[in-house]
C-alpha cells in the first residue's frame, strides 16, 4: 500500500466524506513540491497536511463518541465483569481501564455504521492480546456482549435527540 493510499484510508476512517478528493489533491501537490523542494521537504509537508486533516474530524467526533458509545460500552463491561467475579474468579486489574481507553479511541476514529462490529473486534483483540489464557475469555465475552449495548445506546440517543 502506498503512502497516498494509506492516507486516503486514514481520511476515510476518520469520517472525511471527501477522502478520495483530498488524497488526490495532496498527491498532486506533493508531486509539484517534490520537484520544487526535494523529496524530504515534500514528505514533511505531506505528513503535516495529513495530520492536520485528521485532527479536526477526530476532535469534533470525540465528545459524541464518548457519550454515545464509550460510556455505555464501559458500563456494560463493568457489569459483566461483576457478574463474572460473582460466579467464579478474580477480576483482572487494569483491563477495564485499557478497554475504556481503547474503545474511546476506536469510537472516535470510526464512522457510526462501522462502529458496532469494528469496535467489538477491536476490544476483543485488545483483551485477547493483553491476556492469553482461560482468564481472558469472560472479559472477551463481556466486551462482545457490550457491543449490542453500544448500538442500543446509539438508538436511544437518536430517540432522545
Amino acid at each position: 500500500m502506498s503512502r497516498h493510499t494509506f492516507s486516503q484510508a486514514l481520511f476515510a476512517l476518520a469520517g472525511l466524506s471527501d477522502a478520495e478528493y483530498i488524497a488526490g489533491d495532496l498527491h498532486e501537490e506533493f508531486a509539484m513540491l517534490r520537484a520544487e523542494l526535494g523529496s524530504r521537504s515534500a514528505w514533511r509537508w505531506y505528513a503535516w497536511q495529513v495530520l492536520r486533516c485528521l485532527v479536526r474530524p477526530l476532535a469534533l467526533r470525540l465528545p459524541a463518541a464518548f457519550l454515545a458509545v464509550a460510556i455505555p460500552l464501559a458500563l456494560f463491561d463493568r457489569m459483566w465483569l461483576f457478574v463474572y467475579t460473582q460466579l467464579c474468579a478474580e477480576p483482572v486489574a487494569g483491563l477495564g481501564t485499557i478497554n475504556i481507553l481503547g474503545l474511546l479511541a476506536g469510537a472516535s476514529l470510526l464512522r457510526p455504521g462501522q462502529r458496532r462490529l469494528t469496535m467489538g473486534l477491536l476490544a476483543t483483540g485488545l483483551a485477547a492480546g493483553l491476556m492469553i489464557g482461560p482468564a481472558a475469555f469472560p472479559h472477551i465475552i463481556s466486551i462482545l456482549l457490550s457491543v449490542p449495548a453500544g448500538a442500543a445506546a446509539e438508538q436511544l440517543r437518536k430517540v432522545i435527540v
Binding site: T5, Y21, A23, G24, D25, L54
Partner: protein, 112 residues
Amino acid sequence: MAKGETLGEFEHLVLLAIIRLGNDAYGMQVRRELSACTGRDVSIGAVYATLERLTAKAWIGSTLGEATPERGGRAKRSFYVTDAGIRASNRTRSELAAMLEGLSFPLPESFL
C-alpha cells in the same frame, strides 16, 4: 436578516478564491490561491471543511472530474459559486464596507 446569511471570514476567502480560479477551482488550487493571496499556511483539511459548509448552505456547487494519473488515479471535485453564493458575498462585502467607512487604516495601536 437571519443568522447564517452572511459569510464567515474564512468562508468568504474560500468563496473568493473559487471565483478567482474560475473553472479550475478544486481543493488543491483553492488552497494554493488562499496561501498565495493571504500568506497564510492553509491546510487542505480546513479548505475541505469550509467547502463542505458552503455546499451545505448552497453557496457553492461542485462537479466531479475523471480520475487522472497525476492524482494517483483519483477523481477531482471542482467547485463553482452559485447565485446564492454571489448574493451572500455581496451582502458580506457591503456590511464590511459599512463598518469600515469613516475609519482610516492602518488603525493606531492604541485608542487612548
